[in-house]
Each structure stands twice: as C-alpha cells, then as structure tokens.
C-alpha cells in the first residue's frame, strides 16, 4: 500500500506540474497571482461584436505568436500556443476561424504596434489575435491581444505568466477567457477527460486466460497529455470526475471483486467508501460532490443506491427484481436517471432521490448509459441499439422528442456531456477497436482522441 501510494504521488505530481499558471490583467501585475481580477486595461468585447453582421460569427485569425527571445523553449512555446489557441477557438464554433495556412505570408508583427492591418483586412478577418512569448527567470510570460481589424484598435488584452512546462495550458486559458469575455460562453479548453484503457498490455495476475489490466487515464479535452492515474493492476472501469476535478471515482476489481474506489489524483491517496460491503459498480458523483450514486448487488439483485462520499447514509433507490443499473444525476441533484429492464428490455427511467416519481422515459429496443446534460439543455443522452450495434441518441425531457447523432459508424456507446453541454465524449468501434471520440451536440465535428489499445467509458470533467 505504501509503495502504491508513493507511486501515485509521483504520477500526480506530474499532473500538478503544468497547472501553475497565473493570469494577470495588465502589464504591471505580471508575476503576481491575481485574486480578484482588476478591470482589463482596455475596453473589450463590444467593439468587435459591433463590427460583424448580426448572425454571422466573427472571422478570426491566429498567427504564430512572436517569441521575444531566441531560445528553443520560447520559440516552441510561441508556435504551440498559436496552433492550440486556434484549435480551442475552433472547437466551440463561436468564431469562424480562418485557416492558418492562408496567412503564413503575413509577417509576424515585430512589435505589437506594427500590425499590418491592411493585410488582415484583405484576408477578411474581423479580428486578429497577436501575441508574444517572453522568457522570465521562472518560466514564460505570454501576452495576447485581440485587434479589431476594421477599427485598427486593440479590443482585448491579457497577460499570463508561469511555468514553461505546458505551453498548451496558456492557449487553453486564453481560449476560455476569450469565450467568456467575448461570447459569454463557458469554454471547455481547460477541462479534462477520464477513461479506462488497456494500452499498457499488462497481464492480469492469477488467471490462465489472456487478459490485460485496464487502468484509469486522464487527458486534456483535446486528447493531449494522456496519463495513467491508477496502478491497481486489475480491471478498472467507468471513471467519473468529482465536480472539483480533484478526484475520480471508478469501478475497480483490485480486491478481486468489483468495488468503488476514489483516487484523489493530486495528492495520491485512495478511498474505499463502500468499505468492502457487497459488489459495487458504476459510481457517479452528485453535482455538489458530497454523494455517490451507484449500482450494487449487496441485496441480491442489481439495484441503485446513494451514499455519502465517505460511505455513510446509505439509501436504496430502486426495488425491482429486474436489473437496475447505470445511474446519472440530474444537474440540480434531485433526480436520478438510470437503466432498468423491468419492462423486459433495458430502458431509461427517472426517479427522485427520495424514491418517488419513478417513470420511464425511453422507448427503444435497448437503451443504456443515460447521462443528464448540464443547463440550459434539459436533455438525457444515452446509447440505443439501432442495428447490430449502438448509436448515441439525445432525449429532450420537456418535449419527449429523441434525436440521433451517430448513425451506425461502428458501435457507439457511453456518452458523457461536456460541462457546457455543447459536446459529448463517447466510445466507438468505428476505427476498429474501442476508442474515445468527441462530438458536438448536433453530431458534427467528430474527433478521435485515443489510438493505443482499447479505450472505454469516458467521462468529462466539470
């Protein structure tokens, strides 16, 4: 156990490594942490929005950032930040992102005051993001400005400084700040995914069968920085983030039978809330992080239960001789959607957390893994059998209408919403083995994030 904890700590220290970025507003506040953001030094958003026709997204260009020193690290950071920022902004589809290869010939402004506005205007850009990267004694300082091309004026500017270990995180932070200030949107560029993977091809002990362990992994929302966060050498599946992003709860066969484990990924400790009682599966944190809903066979049949994070205050929610499985919380924490086969085949049902108001909401041949969208959407996504395999469908709870967003490209299962409800992660066999993909809520922009081994049961951090 000690040995294990030590190793987890090492892994987790690596995770913390890249996160020490301080966003500072204005040139003077450079190195200091910013507890309460002072007002931005220049007026923002309004100007840019006014310059575009209503209904059309602003057209943005993101050229390479300018490295203000000649060392390799700064040069690489400048290149990475430009490319990742373009991807992050493109991901939310709030801006029309002009392809980067169309403005390679436009010179990078040697100083921020020498922006060739005519060239950008010729390209049709409404806004251009010009940034610099400078080496500091402790890392790097990144400055980013958005210019309103028509007004030839700065519309927005921020400065960030911190470690040089993970330049992508500067881009992600900028993208989230830009979406927030320009589009009043909570972007997902700094969110993360967790999933289960057998990519290490480490054999399971104590079996004569050819079986590989599955461990829990985390990755940036775009699939970068994939890292293993468990060393249980067993089957570990169905990970689920705590709302604060500091813990992951999952189904682990570490003790030989399925049970719930919580890994606190930044401190390298583990908790076992069910304390070895029964066999327990599919844990999910409540929206406030204080409780866990899960499936257990402790009373002889798969039923849905809720307990506090420490295992106290156990409460049984369902009571049916049929299978009840796969719980998900409503965003306000007052209801649980789950899968039940009490009508003969698996369907999605909803019940209040006091056990009242149980009702069926899906009418498929086979439906499972409900996942309740965050506001403002009041929808439940699930996997539905549509042929030999499954596809992702989304049910609008108010209207009762269901729409399908994947269409038989492989089997598509285990949907998981992004925290702003605009995207979903899911697993699909469309590329051969099970891999993690993301899609927008309308089924567009499908991206493959994993390629090594089998990767299953994704979940998106808050």
């Amino acid at each position: 156990m000690n040995n294990l904890d030590t190793r987890m700590t090492v892994l987790c220290a690596a995770l913390i490594g890249g996160t020490a970025i301080v966003a500072a507003f204005g040139r003077e506040g450079g190195q200091q942490p910013a507890p309460a953001p002072p007002p931005p030094q220049q007026p923002t958003s309004v100007e840019l929005r006014l310059t575009v026709d209503p209904g059309t997204p602003p057209r943005l260009a993101v050229p390479d950032l300018l490295a203000l020193s000649n060392d390799r690290e700064t040069q690489d950071a400048a290149k990475t930040i430009g490319a990742v920022l373009w991807d992050d902004l493109n991901f939310e589809r709030e801006f029309y992102m002009i392809p980067r290869d169309t403005y390679k010939s436009i010179p990078v402004a040697v100083s921020i005051d020498a922006v060739p506005f005519d060239r950008w205007r010729e390209l049709g850009a409404d806004g251009v993001l010009i940034g610099t990267v400078q080496k500091t004694p402790t890392g790097i300082r990144v400055e980013m400005r958005m210019y309103n091309v028509r007004a030839r004026a700065s519309a927005y500017g921020r400065e960030y400084s911190g470690s040089a270990a993970n330049p992508r995180l500067y881009a992600h932070t900028m993208a989230d700040d830009l979406h927030d200030s320009q589009r009043s949107l909570r972007g997902v560029a700094r969110t993360k995914l967790t999933f289960s993977s057998d990519r290490n091809r480490e054999p399971v002990a104590n079996t004569i069968e050819k079986r590989d362990v599955k461990e829990i992994y985390v990755a940036d929302y775009d699939g970068a920085n994939q890292r293993r966060i468990t060393i249980n050498r067993a089957l570990n599946i169905t990970p689920n983030w705590s709302p604060d992003g500091r813990s992951i709860v999952y189904t682990s066969y570490r003790s030989g039978v399925p049970d719930i484990l919580i890994s606190n990924i930044f401190v390298g400790t583990m908790e076992s809330p069910s304390k070895g009682v029964g066999q327990n599966f599919l844990p999910v944190f409540s929206p406030d992080g204080t409780r866990i809903a899960f499936m257990s066979t402790r009373d002889g049949n798969p039923e849905i239960y809720i307990m506090n994070r420490d295992g106290s205050n156990l409460q049984r929610l369902t009571n049916s001789p049929a299978i009840d499985v796969t719980p998900t919380w409503s965003p306000n924490g007052t209801q649980i959607a789950f899968t039940s086969e009490r009508t003969g085949n698996p369907q999605i049902w909803v019940v209040g957390i006091d056990g009242t108001g149980i009702r069926r909401i899906s009418y498929e041949s086979f439906a499972d893994r409900p996942t309740w969208s965050p506001p403002p959407y009041n929808e439940i996504a699930f996997a539905a059998r549509t042929g030999p395999g499954f596809d992702i469908k989304i049910l609008n709870i108010a209207s009762g209408e269901t729409r399908q967003i994947t269409f038989g490209e492989g089997s598509n299962e285990s949907p998981a919403w992004s925290p702003n409800g605009r995207h979903m992660a899911f697993m699909s066999t469309r590329a051969g083995r099970s891999q993690i993909f993301t899609t927008d809520r309308d089924g567009r922009n499908i991206r493959q994030l994993t390629r090594d081994g089998n990767n299953t049961t994704p979940n998106w951090s808050q």
């Binding site: 399971v204 079996t207 004569i208 069968e209 079986r211 599955k214 089957l235 599946i237 169905t238 189904t251 066969y253 030989g256 039978v257 399925p258 066999q279 599966f281 599919l282 499936m295 066979t297 798969p302 299978i323 009840d324 499985v325 796969t326 899968t339 086969e341 085949n345 698996p346 086979f366 499972d368 893994r369 996997a383 059998r385 030999p388 395999g389 499954f390 089997s411 299962e413 285990s414 697993m427 299953t456 049961t457």
Partner: protein, 192 residues
C-alpha cells in the same frame, strides 16, 4: 570436433535403417512409420478417424482426467483443463437452459467429489450489449449458475461470483460463434 565427426556415422546408420525398413523398390524417403501392431490377437479399439484436412492444426482434445490426477494437479493446470465446464447463455438472457442444467449437474458432481474446492463463477457477456448494462447481466449469469448449484446441495460459501461484463471476451471475433462463446458463466477453481 568429436561431435562433427560423429554426424556422418549417425546419418549412415539412419539411412541404413530407413532403407531396410522400406520395400526395396521404394526410394529412401523419410516417411512416418506405422506403429508396430499389437502382439495380442484381439483387435485394438477402433482408432480415431484421421483428422480431416484443415488450414491450421487443431489442438487434440485432452484425455479425460483420471480420478487421482485431478487431486494432484496444480490450480493453473486444473483450470487449463478444467473438469468444471462453462455454461452458455442466449442473447440478453441469464436463464439456465435444460442443457445448462445437465451441465451444472455434472459440475456439481465434481464439486461434491472435491468438497474442499473453492470456485469463482465469472459472468461474461458478448459485445452486443452495452458495457454498463453487461456488468449487471454478467452478474445475473454468474448468480443463475450459483443458485442452481446451491439448489443441488453445493455449499453457498464455496462459490463466489464476479461479473466481468464484456471486458474480458474469450473470443475476440465479431460473429455469432464468437458472441455465443462469450455469453457464459465461467468456472475458475481458486483453492483446493
């Protein structure tokens, strides 16, 4: 040096034996020899039919275990050649068929013969169910098998169950045969 010198001698001996064994007209080609016929007059039990030609070699089914060899085998050897046969299920089902009941009766007979054995029944599913639901379905399958064994007089505390859903398929294929092979309650002997 001595080794190399011996090789021609050995070859010569082999050749001589080979030529001697064949009829004089056939060329000396290496050929599998039929076994010497039994010395007794009673006809031997009818030999198994020759294997039909197949693309790949098929493993020869093991001999049924003799009573005393079961007890002395290691756990891994026992499980590799298990006297406890897997129970198969229909799609989306955890019901034990009539055929399955016979199989479980045979497994129960083995367990009664070795009352010290501890057994884990693994519940497995094919890939045509979802990963999450299959965890529950696999549990149901393992439990069905255990419940039937207990009804036949096997002590409940000798049998543990665990569901692996579709996480550890026995057959990686994606066809009816693979799916049927993966819908099972699989018996593992964990202690003797």
């Amino acid at each position: 040096m001595t080794r190399r010198a011996n090789v021609p001698v050995l070859l010569a001996v082999l050749l001589t034996v080979g030529i001697g064994a064949c009829s004089k007209k056939t060329p000396p080609v290496a050929r599998p020899m039929p076994p010497p016929s039994a010395t007794t007059n009673t006809p031997p039990p009818s030999p198994p039919p020759p294997p039909s030609p197949v693309a790949e070699p098929v493993p020869v089914p093991p001999e049924p275990l003799a009573e005393d060899t079961i007890g002395s085998k290691s756990l891994d050897d026992l499980n590799r050649d298990s006297p406890l046969k897997p129970l198969f299920f229909d799609l989306d089902s955890s019901e034990v068929s009539a055929e399955g009941q016979q199989l479980l009766q045979a497994n129960a007979a083995v367990l009664k013969k070795y009352p010290t054995w501890q057994v884990t029944i693994e519940g497995h599913c094919d890939e045509r169910g979802t990963a999450e639901y299959n965890l529950a379905l696999g549990e149901r399958r393992a439990l069905s098998a255990k419940t039937y064994l207990v009804s036949l007089g096997i002590a409940a505390d000798k049998v543990r169950i665990v569901s692996y859903g579709k996480e550890f398929p026995f057959d990686a294929g994606h066809d009816d045969a693979a799916w049927a092979n993966n819908r099972r309650a699989h018996f593992v002997i964990t202690a003797k």
